[in-house]
């Protein structure tokens, strides 16, 4: 038994404890985070839906970054296709 293997063993034990802590609530927390992200998404695309947004100039820059999650988002919100006229998705 050398120091290295002991350390590995400790790291593995730490991972398991972490999992033991997180596993039961993983889904609840992920869902809460997703809700927050959804709100943010709404903020970024609000101008396009006719909701005035004073920060529109800045959120415009974020749109390409959010694009990847846009499809998932509009489907989750119960809209089969993109709700925006000038913003096709699928």
């Amino acid at each position: 038994m050398n120091i290295h293997s002991i350390r590995q063993w400790f790291e593995r034990a730490g991972e398991l404890v972490n999992e033991f802590y997180n596993a039961p609530y993983r889904s609840a927390i992920a869902r809460a985070k997703r809700d927050e992200d959804d709100l943010f998404m709404l903020l970024v695309f609000s101008e396009m839906m006719g909701v005035p947004n004073p920060a529109a100039y800045y959120t415009l820059e974020l749109q390409p970054l959010m694009l990847e999650r846009f499809h998932e988002w509009h489907q989750r919100m119960g809209m089969e296709h993109s709700p925006l006229d000038h913003f096709r998705c699928c």
Binding site: L16, V17, E19, F20, Y21, A23, P24, R26, S27, I29
Partner: protein, 559 residues
């Protein structure tokens, strides 16, 4: 008889059950396939479906199913003597609980990890699904009322535990923040949390806290119940990471520490079982052991609540199908061992028979307090810890378990109310706060309705709670049996427990009905009738479905 012998006999029997019977179940009945692609892999999303190490999953499953119920039930049931309780816990765990829990995971695993409720709708019928929802609601209602009463009783009997119990909540709140904000690693935080909790437990006996006997026309019992529900309402509205998650984690650690401490102390001390093996001299008003024993001990022998955990979360995280033998069956054994420890504590922890009889003065009395007192004596004499501290330790353990269950229970009930609001389009009920108030209100109604204005009689519904819990287990067993019949496999391993459970629950309900009528307790009389209707409904549903399915099978064979 020496308690060491009882302990080794019980643990040995359960271990043999795991080695032989669960192997038979896994290979011959459920035919677990290591190559089956589990839902955790098929739908892996990092949120609900995550393949998890089987030991972690077992720890999670075990700590979510083992709470205060496997302590309260056996602690009440030893009033008939320790042998009946012992036998039912051991045989129940081996032939009922293990098969049921592993079966629930298996059934869910083979059906895209869906919950038992929606499975019932598919496998049995839509009517059965409605029934399932009703039974779940009843179980939640009763569990909250009963646990609030049990906690109130403990806090009054052991005032030294008041400071540590509420202090533990603050410790959990702080731990939650530290972990959420990633200020410290989990290992260090766990050590700190446990140390803080045990310092509180050590301090507890020197700062006992009691509420005034009467305040605003309410007894101390009623005051505690109101405080507890107030707390549960607030706690259930907080995000889970803030309080529930760290508290669950500390409880899990406490569970392991408590079990090791109790069993270790029994080994070191080797006390005698002072309580009678069969109690011929039961206090007046004690109902007949048959069938009441089988509903008084629900968790610890078989419990429908496990099916909800097994199909709700455990099945979504199963890495390999063969893991469910360890996770489900051994999880049930873990709970059985907690019940066994309770039986030993409540029966071997008293110096003389007279001491024991002084605690068990009437049915429903004694209970958890006997577990705390007896267990504390064993720990203090076995390990050398101060009696006051040992008592505080066990009280804190039981109260924290029950408290977490209440918190979760209110949360789940709130979801049910919100869902109803959704179905019937009542927008007010969909608001979390309103739904929580409704949930707490219905539980309070039960706690006080059952026990009068001082709320002390809430434990009177314990057997009724056990009965409802067994019915839930019956529904799960029915689903598993129908699945087995459809697959053309032997059904007796689940059918026999199902028949036994249904006979005992109906029998128990009728006996209790008579008791409530004689006591003119019309509130519980009415509740009993509701549960009885559900029980008869389940019997009809099970008979109809099973005869239909076996006819289909025969027809298929003839072709």
């Amino acid at each position: 008889m020496n308690a060491i012998f009882v302990m080794l006999l019980g643990l040995g029997a359960m271990f043999l059950g795991y080695v032989f019977y669960s192997k038979f179940i896994a290979e011959k009945i459920y035919k677990l396939d290591p190559n089956f692609k589990t839902p955790a892999h098929e739908f892996e999303d990092g949120v609900d479906f995550v393949p998890t190490n089987k030991f972690v999953l077992w720890g999670h499953h075990f700590t979510s199913v083992a709470g205060a119920a496997p302590i309260i039930g056996p602690a009440i049931a030893v009033i008939w003597g320790w042998v009946p309780a012992f036998l039912w816990v051991i045989f129940g765990t081996i032939f009922f609980a293990g098969v049921h829990d592993a079966g629930a995971i298996w059934a869910s695993n083979r059906n895209k990890a869906r919950s038992m409720g929606s499975l019932t709708g598919d496998v049995v019928s839509k009517r059965a699904q409605t029934l399932f929802m009703i039974v779940i609601f009843l179980v939640l209602l009763m569990v909250n009322a009963v646990f609030a009463t049990a906690i109130a009783g403990l806090l009054i009997n052991f005032p030294s535990a008041v400071v540590p119990v509420w202090g533990a909540i603050f410790v959990a709140l702080i731990i939650g923040q530290i972990i959420f904000r990633k200020w410290m690693g989990l290992g260090a935080v766990s050590v700190l949390g446990v140390v803080a909790l045990y310092i509180l437990i050590g301090v507890g006996p020197s700062v006992p806290l009691t509420l005034p006997d009467m305040a605003m026309g309410l007894s101390d019992n009623a005051q505690w119940i109101l405080i507890l529900f107030g707390y549960a309402a607030i706690a259930s509205l907080l995000p889970v990471w803030m309080l529930l998650q760290p508290r669950d984690y500390i409880n899990g650690l406490q569970l392991f520490i408590g079990l090791i401490l109790l069993y270790g102390a029994v080994l070191l001390l080797g006390p005698d079982m002072t309580a009678p093996a069969f109690n011929a001299n039961t206090p007046e008003g004690t109902p007949s052991m048959l069938p009441l024993l089988f509903v008084t001990i629900a968790c610890g022998a078989i419990s429908g609540f496990h099916g909800l955990v097994a199909s709700g979360t455990t099945s979504k995280q199963l890495d390999k199908e063969t893991d469910l033998r360890f996770v489900g069956y051994f999880g049930a054994i873990g709970e059985g061992s907690l019940s066994l420890a309770t039986i030993i504590a409540a029966c071997a922890g008293f110096a003389t028979l007279a001491d024991w009889e002084a605690v068990y003065t009437s049915f429903g009395q004694g209970g958890v307090s006997a577990f705390v007192e007896g267990g504390a004596r064993i720990i203090s004499e076995g390990v050398g810890l101060d009696v006051g501290i040992s008592e505080t330790l066990l009280t804190v353990m039981a109260v924290l378990f029950a408290g977490t269950t209440m918190d979760t229970g209110i949360r789940l009930q709130r979801y049910i109310f919100q869902e109803w609001g959704n179905i019937y389009n009542i927008s007010v009920i969909q608001k979390p706060l309103v739904a929580t108030i409704l949930a707490v209100g219905s539980c309070l109604l039960l706690a006080f309705g059952a026990g009068g204005a001082d709320g002390s009689g809430g434990l009177a519904i314990w057997p009724l709670f056990g009965t409802t819990n067994q019915l839930l287990a019956g529904l799960t067993l029915m689903v598993i049996t129908v699945m087995l019949v459809r697959l053309g496999r032997p059904m007796y391993v689940t059918l026999l427990p199902l028949i036994f459970l249904l006979i005992m629950t109906v029998f128990a309900l009728i006996i209790q009905l008579q008791g409530f009528y004689e006591k003119q307790d019309y509130f519980l009389f009415f509740l009993d009738i509701v549960v009885l209707i559900a029980a008869i409904w389940i019997i009809l549903e099970a008979t109809a479905t099973l005869s239909k399915v076996s006819k289909e099978n025969k027809r298929n064979l003839q072709r």
